[in-house]
Amino acid sequence: MSWLRISLAAIAVTAALPVCAQTVTITTAGGDYGNAVKTAMWGPAAKELGYDVREETQSDGLAALKMQVTSGAVSTDIIHLGSPEGAQAAAQSLLEPLDYKIIDPKSVPDGAKSDYCYPFDSYGTVMSWSTKTYGQNPPKTWAEFWDVAKFPGRRALRANAQDLIEIALLSDGVAPADVYPTLSTPEGLARAIKRLEAIKPNVSVWWTSGAQSAQLLKDGEADLVVTWNGRAQTVKADGGAVDYTFKGSVIGTDCLGVPKGAPNKEAAMKLIAAMTQPARVAKLTDFIAYGPVNPAGYEGGLIPKDRLKTLATAPENAGTSVFSNADWWVKNGEAAQKAFDEMMNR
């Protein structure tokens, strides 16, 4: 009869375990990026707090979030989103307000502040090219990227209006500061779309995931690729014949939100606060070239000097770039995407 007792004891022990440790579920983008966020940020934070953190991965966080909240079956406590998606989610009341009593409000610069989705890292949508095709003489501006006579070659762009319409205007001579004011007029949007339509015959692939854009660069499938700096940097670091520039990049941030009705709301806020400590967001750059939003992350030599030039938000890369405007996208995103889709269909 002893086996019965042993197995009963085993069941009792396993049943009691989850009660001891606070469980928190985090949904990330997965892949190299997801692993980086885990190793640098929530892994050590969970250890410090004694939390048992479960990870789910989703390439489309907003769709997953909406599915969970509207069906009333919220299983995730923290979700990793792009800031425009975060703003959209907040507008659709899919997120809990952030608890700035737990999270330090001073850790976010005023321009990036959000009540619902905490921005923790930043990236640039950049121009990258094959050094095999262009050698030492690649296009240097978006206007040159559009110049197919001077720079023949196959282009690859993301199949999404986000960042692309900003870039289209930059290529058309609009100054970085005038991009959103211009886009906010109907003629401005039409101008951007027209510009994209002009380059369309030279676009061999419209990519849909960051991993795909990296693959296109690596394989030499495309000569000029608009992609995220982290992806381009990873290919370059792996020895790919690839380079990129932050000139004229569109800078965006990624953020962490707590889904409305999350099962472990308070623990989620604590984990967000712990995983975004300056040392941890600085550590993230060990694995992927997405720099901290928190200015403290750049202080005290947390990030090695030679790495700073690979980060979109590093001081030396500022000036020619445009900060992606999440509010603009919440307001005008649908119209812009629709115009983009219609352009693709022509």
Binding site: D60, A63, Q92, N160, W206, G220, D341, E342, M344
Partner: protein, 295 residues
């Protein structure tokens, strides 16, 4: 008949029938739960605004959009294109398989089935390795001087079609092969002994007797290809956008569940229409066959 006239036996038969029917209940339950309920939910969703009010606006929006109709055309083009190549490539293959010795046929069949056991993602990415600009095929072509420039084999309609035909061919082959194998060998011998050439035998005996299999195979091809997503998403390079991709984009970029539901219903209607077309065509052909036989 006379046996069933016995009331006791008839009652037995009824009980048996009821028992067999009850055996199907779990399956019916699963179908109801996993297919019918979600479809009802999608139909309801298609009449809701984002705020949850009832509306027909989603239908107006989707049906009046040129994007929907372009996606519909692409869907039909992909399905018919895949079907055409399956018939062209699959029918001769089935014929060859049906005419060799069973042991050889089983071995060859294993080769045909092998890709079916491989994940569709792996197969699709496999095609990418073969077809891309610096892939195996283009390297061989430019290396041997056959073409000066790499051919655009992928990230377009051609690449998508190649991937889809490759996926569907074994599924098309199975019913066609089964139908051809079931043809009485005596009929083929009889046709030969009457002096028919091989081509004549194929045309007048084998093909008419395997139309059933070709029809089933074609229907399978349609049912699968109409909702195909992964292959156009990976091999289409953003330029091949059937309804499935339109649905995904409506959900992920626009978070417009209502419109996505309408598109899903459109896909269902398309499937039903094509299914009905097949049934009618099949019935017409069967009638014609009898007509000529009696004439």
């Amino acid at each position: 008949m006379t046996v069933l006239a016995d009331p006791a036996l008839a009652a037995d038969a009824r009980r048996e029938r009821r028992f067999f029917l009850s055996l199907s209940l779990p399956a019916l339950f699963i179908v109801g739960l996993a297919a019918i309920l979600p479809i009802l939910w999608i139909i309801r969703q298609s009449f809701l605004t984002t705020g949850g009010d009832y509306t027909v606006g989603n239908y107006e929006k989707v049906l009046s959009s040129g994007l929907t109709w372009a996606a519909l055309v692409t869907t039909v083009e992909l399905s018919f294109g895949t079907l055409a190549f399956c018939i062209l490539l699959g029918t001769p293959l089935a014929l060859a398989l049906a005419s060799v010795r069973p042991r050889v046929a089983n071995l060859l069949m294993a080769f045909v089935m092998l890709p079916l056991w491989t994940s569709i993602l792996v197969r699709t990415y496999g095609w990418l390795v073969l077809l891309r600009r610096e892939g195996l095929i283009n390297t061989a072509l430019t290396g041997s001087g056959l073409t000066a420039e790499p051919l655009p084999l992928v990230y377009n309609f051609t690449g998508t079609l190649i991937g889809m035909v490759h996926y569907m061919l074994p599924l098309f082959l199975l019913p066609v092969y089964a139908a051809m194998r079931d043809i009485d060998a005596n009929l083929v011998r009889a046709s030969a002994s009457m002096g028919a050439t091989l081509a004549q035998t194929i045309r007048t005996v084998i093909l008419p007797l395997s139309t059933g299999g070709i029809f089933s195979g074609s229907l399978i091809v349609f049912i699968y290809t109409i909702g195909f997503f992964i292959t156009p998403a990976v091999l289409g390079g953003g330029k091949v956008n059937p309804l499935s991709i339109r649905i995904e984009r409506t959900l992920s970029t626009f978070q417009d569940w209502g419109s996505a539901s309408v598109l899903g219903i459109l896909l269902l209607v398309l499937m039903a229409l094509i299914g009905m077309m097949f049934l009618v065509a099949r019935r017409l052909m069967a009638r014609n066959k009898f007509g000529t036989a009696h004439a």
